[in-house]
């Protein structure tokens, strides 16, 4: 794939609109696709997934938590319905009464057409935000099941064109947006000059390994300078590494377990090589889920270093007095990235940062852990055919932000930010999401900066 397939001028980064879509990969027969989808869905089938699939009481409450259903009123967006073929396959093939279901023909075999139809529900209209998991009276974590369904869909070769393209690019080149180590170094040098800041690169030993997302490298490069300013001010021994810089994990988002592992292992290997005590994750939601909560399981044992999101690091450093900031003179609200707050448990960290940074912080109504997702997560922002729906869903977010009447909207996820940028442009909206990290870096007290 050539780099010109990527539209780097766009408000959000994806490949250019393809002339012909290839939402089906490989030349497997229908029978093989179904077999692979189910085998890989059930590949790591543990009791957790079985409990969830066996426990649904069809109450439909999850629909009321899903931005796609609430925004459209279309029942097909009911979260548990998005798993229907997989639920059907579980009951027929794996569940405790699978034999009865098969013998009596109570559950039909899943078909390739069914899976193709469900591609829209599993990828285009689910950001794996996990809001539905908080409403389920049975406590079913539907988001984790969607992630498993994506594993099956990937192996069956049924991934939306653009998401597969960027995931493949990440696997081949180490970056979903084609950022090579050389390009990364060039961008860092540019930021060093632009911001007059020392950026450590390829140090042999460091306590902190900072990683970054390609979205930041290509679209929000100031984040690299801001990271350097913060770590320099905190007098950390730190480095970026060209052999392990990419934080995004499109293997995870698209459903390829092997690619997910390869991406995570690049960071893990680099961290071990420099003897890092901490891997510092950038403003990227899914990177947090991929390394903070899934990294050790990919590695197969506990990681020999800590993993923190940059907002957690900032909160700790500001709370301990290691960093000091000036207060900003404007009202601020904060959009919680789902994978960091609701799914990741770091909801308090940005609030701690904002306590130090501003005098007028305004919580969104129904914000924090129950926040509406921006609608761009889970790879959805890359899928061009999902645009119309994504814009529609974004209106919920707009209402939530506007209710605060804050001057500034901040977030700590570059993927959310590019979705905000794109939707801002679409609606000519007065808000877009700015970076919490960059605002902290801009307002570091002189002694630290």
């Amino acid at each position: 794939m050539s780099s010109n397939q990527f539209d780097l001028e766009s408000k959000r980064l994806s490949i250019k609109e393809p002339e012909i879509r290839y939402d089906k990969q490989g030349d497997l027969s229908d029978e093989e696709r179904v077999q692979k989808a189910m085998a890989n869905f059930a590949k790591d089938f543990g009791s957790t997934a079985a409990v969830y699939l066996d426990s649904c009481i069809h109450c439909g409450m999850c629909a009321d938590a899903c931005h796609y259903y609430v925004a459209t009123g279309d029942p097909k967006y009911t979260p548990i319905w998005k798993l229907e073929p997989f639920k059907q396959a579980y009951k027929r093939e794996v569940g405790p009464f699978a034999l009865i279901y098969r013998l009596l023909g109570l559950k039909k075999k899943v078909t390739a057409e069914q899976l193709q139809e469900w591609q829209h529900l599993i990828y285009d209209s689910c950001t794996v935000c996990g809001r539905c998991s908080l409403i389920c009276p049975m406590g079913i974590d539907i988001a984790s099941l969607v992630a498993m369904a994506r594993n099956g869909m990937f192996e069956a070769g049924l991934v939306p064109h653009e998401l597969h393209a960027v995931a493949e690019r990440a696997e081949v080149d180490g970056s979903p947006l084609g950022v090579t180590p050389k390009l990364f170094e060039e961008r860092l040098e540019w930021m060093e000059d632009e911001h007059e800041v020392t950026i450590n690169i390829d140090e042999e030993q460091a306590d902190v390994l900072a990683v970054i997302s390609s979205i930041e490298i290509q679209k929000y490069p100031d984040a690299m300078a801001a990271t350097a300013k913060i770590l320099n001010a905190a007098r950390e021994s730190w480095t970026f590494r060209t052999d392990g810089f990419e934080a995004t994990n499109f293997g995870m988002m698209s459903g390829n377990v092997e690619w997910q592992k390869n991406t995570s292992m690049r960071i893990i290997d680099a961290a071990i090589k420099v003897g890092a005590k901490l891997v510092l994750l950038p403003e990227c939601g899914h990177a947090y889920m991929a390394l903070r909560w899934m990294g050790a399981n990919i590695y197969g044992k506990p990681l020999p270093f800590k993993v923190q999101h940059i907002s957690e690091y900032l909160a700790d450093s500001l709370n301990s007095g290691k960093l000091k900031v000036k207060k900003v003179d404007k009202s601020v609200t904060f959009h919680d990235p789902c994978q960091i707050s609701r799914r990741g448990g770091a909801t308090q960290a940005p609030r701690d940062v904002l306590k130090h940074l501003c005098t007028d912080y305004r919580e969104m109504p129904g914000g924090g852990d129950y926040n509406w997702c921006c609608g761009g997560g889970g790879g959805v922002v890359t899928i061009l055919r999902a645009d119309k729906l994504r814009y529609k869903v974004f209106k919920l977010k707009m209402e939530q932000v506007e209710a605060t009447e804050a001057d500034t909207l901040l977030s700590s996820c570059s993927n959310c930010r590019q979705n905000f940028d794109d939707c801002q442009s679409h609606y000519d909206w007065k808000y877009t999401a700015e970076s919490l990290l960059e605002l902290v870096a801009e307002n570091l007290e002189e002694a630290n900066a």
């Binding site: 009791s47 109450c59 439909g60 009321d64 009276p137 406590g139 079913i140 399981n297 800590k306 448990g345």
Partner: protein, 217 residues
Amino acid sequence: MNLLEFARGPALQVAVYIFIIGSLWRLLGILWLQKKRDFSERRNGRKIRGALKVIWNRAFTAPVFREATKHARFMGYTLHIGLFVTVFLFIPHIVFFKGLIGIDWPGLPNNVIFFVGVITVGVGVAILIRRMTHPVLRLISNFDDYFSWLVTLLPVITGLIMPIRFGVRWETLLAIHILSVALLLIWIPFSKLSHAFLLIVSRGTTGAILERRGART
């Protein structure tokens, strides 16, 4: 052996055996699957606390979702409370349980139970109408949902008919009532009605996972 003897004897006995063995089979069939070890560094250590917290708090929808779910919650609570009262606080049932497990507890007057039973059936009908007309529920519903509805309400309906009789012998009505309970017991392990015990496992599982991450439970 007349119908009542059959219902009280072998029918109920077989139903209880199927209920116990089926429920165990369903639970063990799920739990024997491998439980994957989580190597990530936990933020909070108390998994059990998280499990217990979610087992308790998912009985009460979070405030942010309450408006959207008010109808479902009202009907759900009413049905479950109604079933609890009619099953466990009706004096003849308490006498039956005493014979079975040796202990008893205070009950409610028959007319109160009758009233609660009527409310329960009324709400049950409303639940069915909602399931058949609400776009989301209509889409996601299957045979299990409708048959489980029938099997759940049959014992209540057959119980309510008993004092009215409609000219049928009391013994026959009692036998039908007991047979409807036997049908319910047999159906539970194979259906969504097993949520009666699965909810502890599913809520507990999620609670333990989310608590470990320090995430909202």
